[in-house]
């Protein structure tokens, strides 16, 4: 006999989750725009179009959820997902925070190191080599070649 389906399995369907996502966005939108002046149809205020769109999105989201509940399909969630979903954006965040005060060299190295954590196949020696190569490429092509005005070294 097959293993019993995990809890809430009916929620783990692509369309159901998608619909919920849309509903969530619509609700946030409606909440955020609750004080915006609406105006009239001929002289629309700030809130007219956004709120209208949110309501339509809400309705569509509901429809999609219903569609999803009727169809099949099941999404696998697992550990590799979280690694990639965390470390890829994290690598960019690290870059964003470091480049201003520390320059592009430091930011690049940090991005590569953090980014390497996102994949399952990364080998430490390779990662270092890639980091060095990318720093060199960046400096040659973008800083010296094209002349982009980005901070290179830390402000000491």
């Amino acid at each position: 006999m097959p293993a019993p389906p995990p809890r809430f399995h009916f929620l783990r369907r692509a369309d159901v989750l998608a619909g919920l996502l849309f509903i969530a966005v619509a609700v946030i939108g409606l909440w955020a725009s609750r004080h915006y002046p609406i105006g009239t149809t001929t002289r629309m205020g700030t809130g007219y179009v956004p709120r209208l769109l949110c309501w339509i999105l809400l309705a569509l989201g509901a429809l999609i959820v219903v569609q999803g509940l009727r169809a099949g399909g099941f999404i696998e969630l697992g550990r590799p997902i979280w690694r990639a979903m965390v470390f890829v954006p994290l690598s960019l965040l690290v870059f964003a925070f470091l480049i201003g005060p520390f320059g592009v060299v430091a930011a690049t190295v940090a991005l590569v190191l953090v980014g390497a954590l996102a994949g399952r196949e990364s080998r430490p020696l390779e990662v270092v080599a890639v980091a060095v190569l990318l720093v060199v490429l960046t400096l040659t092509i973008f800083v010296w070649g094209v002349g982009l005005p980005i901070p290179v070294w830390p402000e000491w």
Binding site: A96, V146, P149
Partner: protein, 500 residues
């Protein structure tokens, strides 16, 4: 105005060694810049603008124009190889172009992009030469109501971009619309969805959104499911050139795309961007088997690529003939002309024919140069794909970060990109398509703005959209398009009912 004599004059100017050199520099820099996602032609042209002070006006413009086209070509390269749109108009190329790469046909995709663009560039050059004044008039006759109606057509067409569930596509368009509305409401000065964050008052940038959703989402997906990468790395990359079959499919698409692009590009305000999307929609609707689209249909690359190149060149027309910039790059060109003491406007064609026709001739030369530069490089690019993904993705991440950062020297946008990357992956897993979202994002604010402007102009009378012929025509086209889109859906439902 003898057409041949003008062209001869133009080529005489453009073919001097100095000007050829400038064109080459421009094209090279432009390609490099275009390949880097994010930093687009606008920033590069702005950076290199001061250098043109010391040059002859024609030479300066030729170089700047070369950068502009080069960036277009470069943008397609990354779109095809790594699903990263180099700039707005390459977004559409991602859809089928990247799929072609995944099918092992990266070389063919790149080739068709290059050749299609060259063809479009050649034709567009002729169109500019012959039809500048009347085309410019067309551009001028678009007011707020006409733009609104055009956007409506565009948004309905956005649904066509999708190859999956139509309801979800519509929802994505709406989501894109909402994201596009974040920022200051231009018509009243009010803040929308900015949650008090000042940087957001200028809205969410297109670059972080596109790179995050398309490029980073793809990276995350590839890391999570290495076996589904259907590589790029492992599959044999057959034949870099187009097969006969592919060529036969591609060239009509290219012709159609060129036509679409030439017309749309003349419209100030995003005409060139719309060109690529329109080109794709036209191809999909005319294809005998639309289900191929989204899986690597070569028309899905040839059409939009030709359209966007034609559109980009056509966008020079309002600038050169009327002195009205169609987009940011054109505004820069006008700035460059003014610095040289030339007032762009209708009189430029008559008072400074050498400048005007020299530029036109140089456009063609620029296109030729770009094909010459890019075709041999295709082999190089394809080799790049053989780099093991575990190293390649790090480079992709870095170039995305730098690209986004350099657009405005702004770390916040890099943060946004990271967030959109997560969202992009979520979309992939939930089978929501990002292309309609992007189109909604671009068109939504424009549509809303023009709707409200039109209402102000007419004093609150909604009949203005129907009273003006162009607007009326577009709205009728929109209604027809809606029917065409909805028809299979309705018919499907009816079939369901009858079968049940």
């Amino acid at each position: 105005m003898d057409f041949l004599a003008n062209l001869a004059l133009g080529f005489g100017v453009a073919l001097t060694p100095a000007n050829l050199g400038f064109a080459l520099v421009g094209c090279l820099v432009g390609t490099l810049v275009g390949v880097l996602p994010g930093i687009g032609p606008v920033a590069t042209v702005a950076m290199l603008l001061p250098l043109t002070f010391h040059l002859e006006p024609v030479s300066g413009l030729i170089m700047l124009a070369g950068i502009f086209y080069g960036a277009q070509y470069g943008g397609s390269t990354t779109a095809i190889l790594v699903n990263m749109p180099g700039e707005t108009s390459s977004v559409v190329t991602c859809i089928d172009g990247h799929q072609m790469a995944r099918n092992g046909r990266a070389g063919a995709a790149l080739t068709v992009a290059a050749l299609g663009s060259f063809f479009a560039g050649t034709v567009a050059t002729f169109m500019i030469a012959l039809f500048s004044p009347p085309l410019a008039k067309v551009g001028q006759s678009f007011g707020a109501p006409e733009y609104f109606s055009l956007m409506v057509v565009g948004l309905i067409a956005a649904v066509v971009l999708a190859h999956g569930s139509i309801i979800k596509a519509v929802a994505m368009v709406l989501l894109g619309l909402l994201l596009g509305l974040v920022g200051t409401d231009g018509q009243t000065g009010g803040q929308r969805f900015t949650f008090g964050i000042t940087i957001l008052s200028d809205g969410i940038g297109f670059v972080p959104l596109a790179i995050g959703v398309f490029g980073l989402g793809e990276v995350i997906a590839n890391l999570v499911h290495p076996q589904q990468r259907r590589d790029l790395v492992s599959s044999k990359i057959s034949n870099l050139w187009l097969t006969k079959e592919e060529f036969k499919q591609a060239w009509p698409a290219s012709v159609r795309g060129t036509l679409v692009g030439s017309i749309l590009g003349v419209l100030p305000g995003g005409g060139a961007t719309l060109s690529a999307f329109a080109g794709y929609v036209v191809e999909k609707k005319l294809a005998r088997d639309p289900s191929r689209f989204g899986k690597g249909a070569i028309e899905g690359v040839a059409g939009p690529e030709s359209a966007n190149n034609a559109g980009a060149q056509a966008s020079f027309i309002p600038m050169l003939t009327l002195g009205i910039p169609g987009n940011a790059v054109m505004a820069l060109m006008i700035g460059a002309l003014t610095i040289h003491g030339i007032q762009p406007g209708p009189q430029v064609m008559t008072e400074r024919p050498a400048l005007f026709w020299g530029m036109v001739a140089s456009m063609w030369i620029g296109n030729l140069m770009l094909v010459i530069i890019n075709l041999p490089m295709i082999g190089l690019w394809v080799q790049l794909l053989k780099v093991p993904y575990r190293q390649l993705y790090l480079a992709i991440l870095l170039f995305s970060a730098i690209g986004v950062y350099t657009v405005n020297n702004n770390s916040f946008e890099v943060i946004l990109t990271a967030l959109f990357g997560v969202l992009g992956y979520v979309f992939i897993r939930l089978e929501c398509e990002p292309a309609p979202l992007l189109l909604g994002f671009i068109l939504g604010p424009l549509m809303e703005e023009n709707l409200r402007r039109a209402m102000r102009i007419s004093g609150g009378d909604p009949m203005i959209f129907l009273n003006r012929p162009i607007s009326l025509g577009l709205l009728i086209a929109a209604a027809l398009l809606l029917l065409v889109v909805a028809l299979p859906f309705i018919r499907g439902k009816r079939d369901e009912v009858f079968q049940g």
